[in-house]
C-alpha cells in the first residue's frame, strides 16, 4: 500500500504524517508503543501505512525496554511512541536505563496542545522537564515545520557519539497542523560534533606503552559493542598482537569470545578471581570503552595501585571521573583500536615477554572462582544456567536478564562469543527489563533463540508483556531461576544486616505454569537436578513461547564477591570464607 500522502509530497501534510514519514525515511521498521489521547493523530497516520510495524506493549515502561532490547541486539535505533502524562512518566525508567547503558533510542511522547501547556490539563506533565536529566537530549516541538528536522536530528544524536535516548515531546495541535516536509540530507549539528577519530600522537604513545608492558591487561566494556561488530573483531586482533589478557565488564560480555584462552571472564563485584587479581596486579591497564564503574573498581584507593592506565572512550566526561588515568584517548573505540593496530604493525612491535604474568594468571585461574559443586536433590542455580548454556550454545542464543543474583550467575556461567547477544540492565539495574528486552530482540531476529534468564521476583515487574509476545507470535523463552527470594537483597541482608531478611521473601508467588497458560504460553516446571535437562529440552522443543519455572536452592549466594567498600584483593570466593561484619562506611555503599 502506498502512503496516502505520497502523492502530496511537497505540499503541506500534517505533523502526524510528517512524524511517520520521517520515521520511514530514517529506515525505521519497528516501533514500540501504547496509544492515548495526545498521540491519536500519530496513531491514525500509522494506521494508514504499512511500512512501519507497531508493537503494542502492555505498559509504557516495557515499550522502552523492548526498544532497548531491539537496539542492543540489532545495533539500530530503538523507537518508542507513548502518550502524554502517564504514558511519558511510565517511560521514564526505561529512558533512564537507556541513558545509563548508552542505548540509542528515540522516544516520541504526545503532549497536550500548546495552548494548554502549563494549565495542569488532563494527562499533562512536564515531559521535557522530567526527562531532561535522564535523556541524552530532548525537544519540545512547538512548530509543525520543525518536526521533520527535529526527528532527523534526534536520530543522529541518539546513535552518534556515546549513544543514548532522545525524547521528542509533540503537542497534539502540532500533530494536526500542516507544514511542508522534505527529507533532509546528511545531518550536521552546529554544536554537537562527536569525536570519532582518536589523537594519533596519543595512540602512538599508547602502543609504545603496550609494547613495553610486562603485565598488560585489556579492560573492555560496552563501548566496544556500541561501536559495532567490527570493533569486536579489532579487539580480537589487538589481543592477538599484544598477547594481553582480556577482561570484560557486564555490559561488554560477548565482545571477546568467552572460551578464548586470553579471556579472564567478567571483572568486578561478581567477576572472576583471575580478572580482578590481574586488574590489581597489572602494570598497564588499557580501558577500552568502559567507564570505571563502582561495580568494577571496588574500593577506589586500592584499585590497581601499581599500574599505568590508558583510557579510550568517546565521552570525555568518562575520563578521570573516578579513577585518574595516565593517558586518555577520546574517540570511537573501534576507530582507535584500528589505529592502534596500524601503529603496532608499522612499528614492528612484538609483545613483550609475559611468561611470568601468564604464570601468575594461571595460578589465579586455578582457584576456579566460578566453581560450584552440585550434589543432592537441591538444584544449584549455577548448575541450571550452566546446563542451559551447554544445551543452547550451538544455537547462538540471544540472552536477556532481569536484575539480581540470576543476572550475575548468567554473566558468570553463560558464555558469550559474539557481540549483541547479551542484553542486560547494567547501569540502572532495572528489574523487569528482561522480558520486554527479549521481545524487542526477537522482533529484530525472528528466527533466533531468545531467552530471558529471570528471577521469580523480577519477572513479575513486567509480567504483563506475556500478552505482547503472544499477540506478535514471538517464541520468547523465559527461564525463571526461582529461589523464592529477592536473592541479591537477601544475600546483602545476610552479609550486612545480620541475616534479617526484611521483606525479601517472594511470598504468594503465582503458579507460573498456570500463569503462562492463561496467556497462551507453554509452562514447564523443573523441580530439581533430575529433570533439569528434560525441562530445558522441552523448552527448546516447543516452537512457541515458554515459561520455565526452574526451582533452585533457596539460599545459594552469588560468589565470588567483592564486598562493598572492599578492594579487588579482598574477594570472598565462597560462603566458607570468613566475612567480618561490614562497618558503617561499607554498609552505606550500595
Amino acid at each position: 500500500m502506498a502512503l496516502r500522502w505520497d502523492n502530496i509530497m511537497g505540499s503541506e501534510i500534517t505533523g502526524a504524517e510528517i512524524t511517520v514519514q520521517s520515521l520511514i525515511d530514517l529506515g525505521v521498521e519497528v516501533i514500540f508503543g501504547y496509544p492515548g489521547g495526545a498521540v491519536l493523530p500519530i496513531y491514525d497516520a500509522l494506521f494508514q501505512q504499512n511500512r512501519i510495524k507497531h508493537i503494542l506493549v502492555r505498559h509504557e515502561q516495557a515499550a522502552v525496554h523492548a526498544a532497548e532490547g531491539y537496539a542492543r541486539a540489532s545495533g539500530k535505533v530503538g523507537v518508542v511512541l507513548v502518550t502524554s502524562g502517564p504514558g511519558a512518566t511510565n517511560a521514564v525508567t526505561g529512558i533512564t536505563d537507556a541513558l545509563m547503558d548508552s542505548v540509542p533510542l528515540v522516544v516520541l511522547t504526545g503532549q497536550v496542545p500548546t495552548h494548554l501547556i502549563g494549565t495542569d490539563a488532563f494527562q499533562e506533565c512536564d515531559t521535557v522537564g522530567i526527562t531532561r536529566h535522564c535523556s541524552k537530549h530532548n525537544y519540545l516541538v512547538k512548530d509543525t515545520a520543525r518536526l521533520g528536522p527535529v526527528l532527523h536530528e534526534a536520530f543522529y544524536i541518539a546513535r552518534s557519539g556515546r549513544p543514548g535516548p532522545v525524547v521528542i515531546d509533540i503537542p497534539k495541535d502540532v500533530q494536526i497542523m500542516k507544514a511542508r516536509y522534505e527529507k533532509p540530507g546528511a545531518i550536521t549539528h552546529k554544536t554537537y560534533k562527536p569525536q570519532v577519530k582518536g589523537d594519533l600522537a596519543a595512540i602512538e604513545a599508547a602502543v609504545d606503552m603496550l609494547a613495553a608492558a610486562e603485565r598488560p591487561i585489556l579492560y573492555t566494556g560496552g563501548g566496544i559493542i556500541n561501536s559495532g561488530p567490527v570493533a569486536s573483531q579489532l579487539l580480537r586482533e589487538l589481543a592477538k598482537a599484544t598477547g594481553a589478557p582480556v577482561t570484560s565488564t557486564l555490559m561488554g560480555l560477548g565482545c571477546f569470545p568467552a572460551e578464548h584462552p586470553q579471556f579472564l571472564g567478567m571483572l568486578g563485584m561478581h567477576g572472576s578471581y583471575e580478572a580482578n587479581m590481574a586488574m590489581n596486579k597489572c602494570d598497564l591497564m588499557v580501558c577500552l570503552g568502559a567507564r570505571f564503574d563502582d561495580r568494577v573498581t571496588g574500593r577506589l584507593d586500592a584499585f590497581s595501585p601499581g599500574s599505568r592506565k590508558i583510557h579510550v572512550d568517546i565521552d570525555r566526561s568518562s575520563f578521570n571521573k573516578t579513577v585518574r588515568v595516565d593517558l586518555a584517548i577520546q574517540g570511537d573505540v573501534g576507530s582507535v583500536m584500528e589505529d592502534m593496530l596500524k601503529v603496532w604493525r608499522a612499528r614492528g612491535h612484538r609483545a613483550a615477554d609475559q611468561k611470568a604474568w601468564w604464570g601468575q594468571i594461571k595460578s589465579w585461574r586455578a582457584r576456579d572462582s566460578f566453581g560450584f559443586e552440585q550434589k543432592g536433590d537441591s538444584l544449584l542455580p549455577q548448575k541450571a544456567i550452566q546446563r542451559l548454556y551447554e544445551m543452547t550454545k550451538a544455537k547462538k542464543p540471544i540472552i536477556s536478564t532481569e536484575v539480581g543474583q540470576h543476572q550475575m550467575w548468567a554473566a558468570q556461567h553463560f558464555g558469550f562469543h559474539e557481540p549483541n547477544k547479551w542484553l542486560t540492565s547494567g547501569g540502572l539495574g532495572t528489574m523487569g527489563y528482561g522480558l520486554p528486552a527479549a521481545i524487542g530482540a526477537q522482533l529484530a531476529y525472528p528466527g533466533a533463540l531468545v531467552i530471558d534468564i529471570a528471577g521469580e521476583a523480577s519477572i513479575q515487574m513486567n509480567i504483563q508483556e506475556l500478552g505482547t509476545a503472544v499477540q506478535y507470535r514471538l517464541p520468547v523463552k523465559i527461564f525463571i531461576i526461582n529461589n523464592e527470594y529477592m536473592g541479591m537483597v537477601r544475600q546483602w541482608q545476610e552479609l550486612n544486616h545480620g541475616s534479617r531478611y526484611s521483606e525479601s521473601y517472594s511470598d504468594s508467588l503465582p503458579d507460573f505454569v498456570k500463569l503462562a497458560e492463561a496467556y497462551g504460553w507453554k509452562g514447564i516446571v523443573i523441580e530439581g537436578p533430575h529433570d533439569l535437562d528434560a525441562g530445558i529440552q522441552a523448552m527448546l522443543d516447543h516452537p512457541g513461547p515458554v515459561v520455565v519455572d526452574c526451582r533452585v536452592s533457596k539460599l545459594a549466594n552469588c560468589f565470588p564477591m567483592i564486598p562493598s567498600g572492599a578492594a579487588h584483593t579482598d574477594m570472598i570466593l565462597s560462603a566458607a570464607d570468613e566475612v567480618g561484619p561490614a562497618d558503617d562506611d561499607a554498609k552505606a555503599l550500595v
Binding site: 531532561r132 536529566h133 519540545l140 554544536t191 575520563f319 573516578t322
Partner: protein
C-alpha cells in the same frame, strides 16, 4: 580526589539561546552535586542565537575538569572556557544597594558611596539606592560598610567576566 583543596573558577559558557537551556545547565550542577556561587546569563549575539553564561563554581581541580566535560556534553552548548585557567581576565559585578537613614548616617552613606564610586540612582528624603560595580570583593566590602549606615536590601547581578586582550575566548 575530594580531599584536594577547593578552587574558585569562573567559566564562560556559550549556549544556544533556546528554551530550557538554562535549566539543563543548572540541573546538571544540582544533579551532580557541583556548586554554583553565581550565575549570569544574557543573549549576546546580533541574531539572538547565542547566550553567554558566566558561572562561578568551586571545587578541587579534577571536579572542575569534570564540570567542563559534563557541560561540553550538553547538546546546546557551543563552548565552555575556564577563564581562571585561561589567564588574565576581568571579573565584574553590579549591585543595587538600598540604604535608609537620616542625619549623620545619611551623610556617611553618601561619603562612603563616593569613595567606592557608587552612584545614587534613586533617592528619597530618607533613603538612597546606590549602584556599585566592580570585583566581587569590592561589592562585598561596600555592602558590609552600608550595613553600618542603614542597609535595607541588596540586589546583585553575579559575576560577568571576559578575557583580557584582543582575542575572543
Amino acid at each position: 580526589m575530594k580531599h584536594l583543596p577547593s578552587e574558585r573558577h569562573t567559566l564562560s559558557i556559550l549556549v544556544d539561546n533556546e528554551a530550557g537551556v538554562l535549566a539543563r545547565i543548572v540541573g546538571l550542577f544540582s544533579a551532580r552535586g557541583y556548586n554554583i556561587e553565581s550565575l549570569t546569563v544574557a543573549d549576546v549575539s546580533d541574531n539572538h542565537e547565542v547566550s553567554r553564561i558566566t558561572l562561578v563554581t568551586s571545587g578541587p581541580p579534577p571536579v572542575i575538569d569534570q564540570i567542563m566535560a559534563q557541560l561540553e556534553r550538553l547538546v546546546p552548548v557551543h563552548k565552555v572556557v575556564d577563564l581562571t585557567d585561561w589567564g588574565p581576565h576581568v571579573e565584574r559585578e553590579m549591585a543595587l544597594v538600598k540604604v535608609a537613614g537620616v542625619g549623620d548616617k545619611r551623610v556617611e552613606a553618601l561619603r562612603l558611596a563616593d569613595i567606592f564610586r557608587a552612584r545614587p540612582v534613586d533617592t528619597s528624603t530618607a533613603s538612597f539606592v546606590f549602584e556599585v560595580s566592580g570585583s566581587t570583593e569590592k561589592v562585598n566590602q561596600f555592602i558590609a560598610l552600608m550595613r553600618e549606615v542603614g542597609l535595607v536590601e541588596v540586589a546583585r547581578t553575579g559575576v560577568v567576566a571576559i578575557a583580557r586582550g584582543a582575542e575572543a575566548v
